[in-house]
Symmetry: C2
Amino acid sequence: MSRTRVHNFSVSLDGFATGEGLSIEEPFGHAGHRLHEWFTTTRAFRAMQGAPGGSMGVDNAYAAQHGPGIGAEIMGAGKFGPPGWQDDDDWTGWWGPNPPFHTPTFVLTHRPRPSLEMEGGTTFHFLDATPADALATAREAAEGQDVRIGGGPSMVRDFLAAGLIDHLHVVIVPILLGRGVRLWDGLEALEQDYQVESVSTPSGVTHLTFSR
Amino acid sequence: MSRTRVHNFSVSLDGFATGEGLSIEEPFGHAGHRLHEWFTTTRAFRAMQGAPGGSMGVDNAYAAQHGPGIGAEIMGAGKFGPPGWQDDDDWTGWWGPNPPFHTPTFVLTHRPRPSLEMEGGTTFHFLDATPADALATAREAAEGQDVRIGGGPSMVRDFLAAGLIDHLHVVIVPILLGRGVRLWDGLEALEQDYQVESVSTPSGVTHLTFSR
């Protein structure tokens, strides 16, 4: 059965998944790259970039779950580009000609545009839809495989609140951002619907999985 | 040298150290006892209650750091009693005739009252003072030993913001409270002043220590 999964979703100790002041130069605002260092140093991430090397411990074991079994991704408008990308007809995402998705990829936006076929199997489709409707569309495109919910924090929260997520992998990075966009707001008692597991790793982060 | 320490301070995954709706029946509001189950099942906690048994693993090893080397505690008004205790001249705290502090214990309140000498070495003193002034008073009373900052969340946050804490032990409990009083607000970049360590334990919680 096709499941809905979130992977490698990093938050600060105070719960922010992105900082303040997002721009084309600073995709995560004042958070910089600090939330994702545990990930970008793994072998799994480096392999996605076509680079050799990288860590092969437990952080890598989690990181490597990102791709296998995924047939489509849904992402929020805030992940696809910096604020205002909807006004730029030439914007094709952050990732160059060959994005690391390699599946149909649905971008939630109130201003849809024509689909974009990229290299490597990624096609961006633009949807103005509720989480449940977007998931139905993505699931069909996934042809029986799982659907990844790609972030940012507001849309992950919306999908969680709607009860649509089957597997949530969150990584707590021990920094205090103080401001930005929170993941956990409005999700009281979420844990009651899941089996929860925590493990801290030598890099200093803590991996949390919520599974059902 | 005398240090200032916080121990066994539990927060939910969304950062709340206490729930909403605090009362004499529900000291932690809708959080109930869920934030403290990891602690109350340890041998160290049970020994403080004069009870036998309890777990002896890593949760207990952390729990047992609470007492040794402490010469005084400072707590916030919200820890000493339920909302409105200041109007009850007979209120002597939650803990009965022999409270588990066994040292001079300073209660921060805008409405000080005469000191209360309890059994077992605990004397409650009531102070209307800034964090720095309260710490100076408590440190003198501690006679060279360390001072414990006992909570609740607002006063721990105030002491952290004032740079007064040398050792912070926070326990992340994987539940989502959704509402209550947060620990981490307004502490951006706190980690830069500390060495930070995280460890998840078989009970499902994650212990974080900030030390300098």
